[in-house]
């Protein structure tokens, strides 16, 4: 009975949920955004710091379910330290996976722990949870780029 549920709640997701990476809000940053999921009330405040064309830091304060919390944690692992262009293409890859309704085969080389979210794509109600911090990051990064231009 729990096979379907286990495909959603992968161990990796539960691990990130219990011990989120890079959590908390830090200085310095060029942009801070606040995104909410109006249907469920999940919220994230997220800061982006860019330096020398790279994502120098992503810090966040999030309240929400295991999927949205774990997703924020995985996001920071994946984008911190990467050139902005490369981080944006990881974002694209994650978005494609989430919008694929469970038909997209994730590339572990690109998404690393992010592949654990493949099961989430089969639960339409939860896709928004997984994407909350990713959308916030894209927004904050775009604003940071404008700030530093």
């Amino acid at each position: 009975m729990n096979a379907e549920l286990d495909s959603l709640y992968q161990e990796i997701i539960l691990d990130h949920y219990k011990n989120p990476h890079h959590a908390g809000l830090r200085e310095p940053y060029e942009a801070e955004v606040h995104h909410v999921n109006p249907t469920c009330g999940d919220e994230v405040t997220l800061r982006v710091h860019l330096a020398e064309g790279k994502v120098a830091d992503v810090s966040y304060d999030a309240v929400g379910c295991s999927i949205s919390q774990a997703s924020a944690s995985v996001l920071t692992d994946l984008v911190i330290g990467k050139p902005v262009d490369e981080a944006m293409s990881v974002h694209e890859e994650f978005l494609t996976l989430m919008q694929g309704k469970g038909t997209v085969e994730p590339d572990e080389d690109v998404l690393e722990d992010g592949i654990a979210f493949a099961g989430v794509a089969k639960f339409p109600a939860r896709v928004k949870c997984a994407l909350l911090s990713w959308m916030a990051w894209k927004d904050a990064t775009a604003r940071s780029l404008e700030e530093t231009r």
Binding site: M1, N2, E4, C40, G64, S66, R126
Partner: protein
């Protein structure tokens, strides 16, 4: 098992609701505990709507043929049923809307346009409460912002009841409207609406009662409640979506300006200006939700036949059983009153270590349908320092075994997330 107060014909009643027979993924039987969100529909409602569409469909009040007459009669008959259901002094005081939100917006908007005694402006105040559904907050924010008036509200006590200690400083000569829910959709609290209405009337304020959660489970008598306006939605009283009810005192409705303009709401139209129909049609522009009204009429007749007192007793018995069951779960906190005589059948709670979304997801995998989130009551959640909650809500078809399934599901959820 049986409990004192349960509907004696519970198994028969369950057979009236075909959806309760269905199974979900993995062959799990449906345990529907989301009736405060929307109720399930009995066969008689489904049949009444299908019969109308199959045999009597025509527009109302404008078709000069036999089907038109039958359709008009069915539609207006539904208005009579609603009037009886809420003890309305006159059937003309019953206005059909799209839902309770539209009914509340109708009142707030027409008050914004009103002139004379009803006009609202700077220095005037509208009073609501911190436990309102967003639909009874936002229209009043819009009204007061547009007119330069002030919005004020009753706070909540720690146990989830209205804090009436400052009623005399909240409801004053400046108060033009007091709008409040009878039963909270999140906390379950039953509010002393008649007592608050009495105070509001002493200062000449209009009293608006949101009965969306009350109409399904308490006998409603608009005169006893002493409201000037009372609204509820069809889909929570075993009726269809797309139809709501606004009842208002004739004197008030006649004084308010029209809401939407169009067909049906006019007396005569010239290119320069128009004159308007009397109530209820003045507030029912355009082709109304005809088959939905027919369905609502059948729904209210069904509830009346079971008896609202009996339904209320059933809800109290199930809610007491649910509160006892939830109390056995470590780390679970119910938000709202624990005394079943002071609350309705919606029970919101939080559970240490597991987010409401995750609770709802695990329960769903076992066929148990609950709601997770802020239930369109963000301020009430904020009051208790929580961002969201899980809510179970029962109805006249809920069995103690379904509550057992919920409690077992919650124990399973704790184990699944390795809590405790």
């Amino acid at each position: 098992m049986t409990l004192p107060g349960l509907l004696p014909e519970l198994e028969v009643i369950r057979k009236d609701f075909p959806i309760l027979e269905r199974t979900l993924a993995g062959g799990m039987p449906l345990v529907y505990l989301d009736s405060a969100n929307t109720s399930q529909k009995p066969q008689c409602v489904i049949d009444a709507m299908v019969d109308h569409l199959e045999r009597h469909n025509a527009n109302v009040a404008r078709a000069m043929h036999q089907l038109g007459a039958e359709s008009s009669e069915a539609f207006e008959n539904a208005r009579d049923v609603v009037a009886r259901f809420i003890g309305a002094p006159s059937r003309d005081e019953v206005i059909f809307t799209k839902n309770a939100s539209e009914a509340l917006n109708l009142v707030a908007n027409t008050l914004a346009w009103a002139t004379g005694d009803l006009a609202i402006g700077e220095g005037d105040e509208v009073v609501i409460t911190e436990m309102e559904h967003h639909s009874n907050i936002v229209p009043w924010q819009l009204l007061t912002q547009r007119k330069g008036a002030t919005l004020r509200w009753f706070g909540l006590t720690e146990s989830g009841e209205l804090d009436l200690s400052d009623i005399d400083s909240l409801i004053t000569e400046r108060t033009k409207v007091v709008s409040l829910t009878w039963v909270s959709n999140m906390l379950g609290t039953i509010n002393p609406v008649a007592e608050i209405a009495r105070r509001a009337h002493e200062v000449g304020a209009i009293v608006v009662v949101d009965a969306s959660q009350a109409a399904p489970q308490l006998p409603v008598d608009v005169t006893e409640v002493d409201a000037d306006v009372l609204v509820f939605t069809g889909h929570k009283v075993v009726g269809p979506t797309g139809i709501g009810v606004l009842w208002g005192k004739r004197s008030l409705l006649e004084q308010l300006p029209p809401f939407l303009g169009g067909g049906e709401m006019i007396e005569t139209v010239r290119m320069e200006r128009s004159t308007y129909a009397g109530i209820p049609h003045k507030f029912e522009a355009g082709t109304p939700p005809i088959v939905e009204a027919v369905g609502l009429g059948a729904a209210l007749e069904y509830l009346a036949a079971v008896g609202l007192d009996n339904i209320h007793r059933h809800e109290q018995a199930i809610t007491a059983y649910a509160l006892d069951g939830l109390a056995t779960i470590p780390g679970l906190r119910v938000l709202g009153p624990l005394d079943v005589t002071r609350r309705g059948g919606a029970v919101a709670f939080e559970m240490d270590g597991v987010h409401p979304h995750d609770i709802a997801q695990v329960l769903d995998s076992r066929g148990v349908a609950v709601r997770a989130g802020h239930h369109c009551a963000k301020p009430a959640h904020a009051r208790f320092g929580v961002q969201s909650s899980t809510r179970m809500s029962s109805y006249l078809y809920t069995t103690p075994a379904e509550i057992d399934a919920l409690v077992e599901g919650l124990e399973h959820t704790r184990a699944y997330f390795k809590v405790g």
